[in-house]
């Protein structure tokens, strides 16, 4: 309880700074997002005008035509002219709203050649980005530690909005996003880019952006996609075109992480494994290994993590369990990462089996 209050006080003290600019839609950094913002403000002012008139008349009537003031009811109940007038006025208002809206719709409906195509794939519960023109691809995962979520540690400024690897994009170039999903429907939403695009399994839809200013833009998954829907943020890092070219060249030529041919020691594997477990596994199986039964079974004291059959454990993590929420991790993680996670699971939470899984063991079980 004390922790809760301390957290509360900290949040309330910290938040005015964050909140100051956070009562309205962001203007954003693309022409589309700015046009949306302009449209939004335009409609808000129209709506405020309507409400001022409507509320004005109601309040006037309530004040002036009160029985307690001795008001005597009139008896009129029809007036054709009046009724025509207030059918026509809303029609005029919606026309006034529709015309600029159509203009922005046309602007969004742009299929000119793009300088760069990014494929975005929604996964339960992470985003995968692939630079189709450069052969670069990676997953982007939440890095906020579980300790911050459950309130053991102080929350960071970008709590729940930080990832291990942001999507790096160039400014001033037309970027085309093609969006699909691996499992259920997700939605890729970055308010400052003015993009919200549903990721539908089996189907591909597209969006585009031309970012005007370098910076870091954050968003979240907007379509309920299961347990950890609230824990799959999006971070876009926009850099100058020349910096982007340098970055993508370095990223493309970086040696693929083939690290399965060396042996390592238990402390090294455990340290690596603890961090990776927090990132990939703790969302469902929890940091303490107790899981969330029955959908997400406990690993602590489970037969798989404590039995002598290490290969069974390895296969389960690599191939997943069909028809359950347990994914296959073989296509997602490299040998060393898998070895570290499995080693961690076999030694954490007083399991202490002493089993040390080597990356080469994982490689051997890959086909």
């Amino acid at each position: 309880m004390v922790g809760l209050f301390r957290l509360l006080v900290a949040c309330v003290l910290l938040s005015p700074v964050l909140v100051a600019a956070q009562v309205n839609m962001p203007r954003g950094v693309t022409s589309v997002s700015q046009d949306i913002y302009g449209l939004h403000m335009y409609v808000i002012w129209i709506v405020v005008g309507i409400m001022a008139v409507v509320y004005g008349v109601i309040i006037y009537s309530l004040v002036r035509h009160r029985k307690s003031r001795g008001a005597v009811a009139a008896t009129f109940s029809e007036n054709n002219l009046l009724e025509i007038v207030w059918t026509v006025i809303p029609l005029i208002i919606i026309t006034a709203i529709a015309i600029p809206s159509i203009r922005v719709l046309i602007e969004m409906d742009d299929y000119d050649a793009a300088d760069l195509t990014i494929k975005i794939t929604g996964h339960q519960w992470k985003w995968q980005y692939e630079y189709l023109d450069h052969g670069v691809g990676f997953f982007s995962l939440l890095t906020t530690p579980m300790a911050e979520v459950v309130g053991v540690e102080e929350k960071d400024q970008w709590y729940l909005l930080e990832v291990d690897e942001p999507l790096v994009l160039p400014t001033d170039r037309k970027v085309r996003f093609v969006v699909t999903s691996n499992d259920v429907i997700h939605s890729w939403w970055v308010p400052e880019l003015g993009i919200k695009r549903d990721a539908v399994p089996g189907y591909m839809y597209e969006a585009w952006a031309r970012i005007q200013e370098p910076g870091i833009y954050r968003g979240q998954c907007a379509e309920l996609c299961g347990v950890n829907h609230g824990f799959m943020p999006i971070v876009v890092k926009a850099v100058a075109p020349e910096d982007f070219d340098k970055w993508i060249a370095a990223r493309a030529s970086a040696a693929p992480p083939v690290t399965s041919d060396h042996n390592w020691t238990l402390p090294v594997a455990m340290e690596r494994g603890a961090a990776l477990y927090d990132q990939h596994c703790a969302a469902c199986h929890r940091a303490d290994g107790n899981g969330m039964p029955p959908t997400f079974p406990a690993l602590r004291d489970s037969s798989i993590a404590t039995s002598t059959d290490v290969n069974r454990h390895i296969d389960l993590v690599m191939n997943g369990v069909p028809n359950t929420a347990m994914q296959a991790y073989a296509p997602q993680l490299d040998d060393e990462e898998l070895a570290a996670i499995i080693t961690y699971e076999r030694n954490a939470w007083e399991h202490d089996t002493g089993d040390l899984v080597q990356p080469s063991q994982i490689q051997a079980r890959r086909r």
């Binding site: 299929y111 000119d112 050649a113 793009a114 195509t117 494929k119 794939t121 996964h123 189709l132 023109d133 085309r176 093609v178 699909t180 999903s181 691996n182 499992d183 399994p201 089996g202 189907y203 591909m204 839809y205 597209e206 690599m318 191939n319 997943g320 069909p322 028809n323 994914q327 296959a328 991790y329 073989a330 296509p331 997602q332 890959r366 086909r367």
Partner: protein, 195 residues
């Protein structure tokens, strides 16, 4: 009931009720073409639309870029990729692209690739004369297969679409249903395992 209608009054009512029932029954059949109209208007059911060739036109050909993208759904441990990632094509000409699929798992699996085209408006102009997406693929562990797509873009495609992306999503078909369904030539998928 307050009133009991006498006999002659019942007949018109009966006729009306029977007529209404027939009308409703007929309407349910009329829904089939109505549904097609709605799907065309909204871009649902693109796969069927894609299989129907658009009549050849006399419009002058133009060029555009076409990209090939693949997605493995549900973390399927297969390798699945096109041999070329993108190409410049001229409309009304026929092209072939090969895709490679390899089963990396330890057991025999049956999969099917489901196509999708973005922008949606391009769907009806991309005519596939041969496509692996029409059939199921069963591969043994470690086996791989080269799968061709033969396609043509209709010249009627408006020139504002500078790039078309042809996307394939690879889905696993569960063993038992895959075999039964290949008999009646339908593609379905078992969802029962979960409940």
């Amino acid at each position: 009931m307050a009133t009991t209608p006498d006999r002659p009054a019942r007949r018109p009512l009966l006729i009306k009720l029977v007529a209404a029932a027939l009308l409703m029954f007929g309407f349910s059949f009329a829904l089939v073409p109505l549904y097609d109209l709605m799907c065309d208007a909204l871009g649902i059911g693109k796969i069927r639309a894609a299989a129907q060739p658009v009549t050849a036109t006399t419009i002058a050909p133009h060029t555009l870029a076409i990209e090939f993208v693949t997605t493995n759904t549900e973390q399927l441990d297969w390798s699945f990729y096109p041999l070329v990632k993108s190409m410049e094509v001229t409309t009304s000409e026929t092209y072939m692209v090969n895709f490679i699929a390899k089963n990396n798992t330890a057991h025999t699996m049956t999969v099917q690739a489901i196509p999708s085209i973005t922008p949606v408006q391009g769907t009806e102009y991309l005519i596939k004369t041969q496509c692996f997406c029409f059939e199921q693929q069963t591969l043994a562990p470690g086996e791989s297969i080269k799968m061709p797509v033969v396609f043509m873009i209709d010249s009627a495609l408006p020139e504002k679409y500078a790039t078309l992306t042809l996307s394939y999503s690879l889905f696993e078909l569960k063993q038992e249903t895959a075999s039964t369904q290949s008999r009646n030539g339908e593609v379905q998928r078992n969802r029962g395992g979960r409940t």
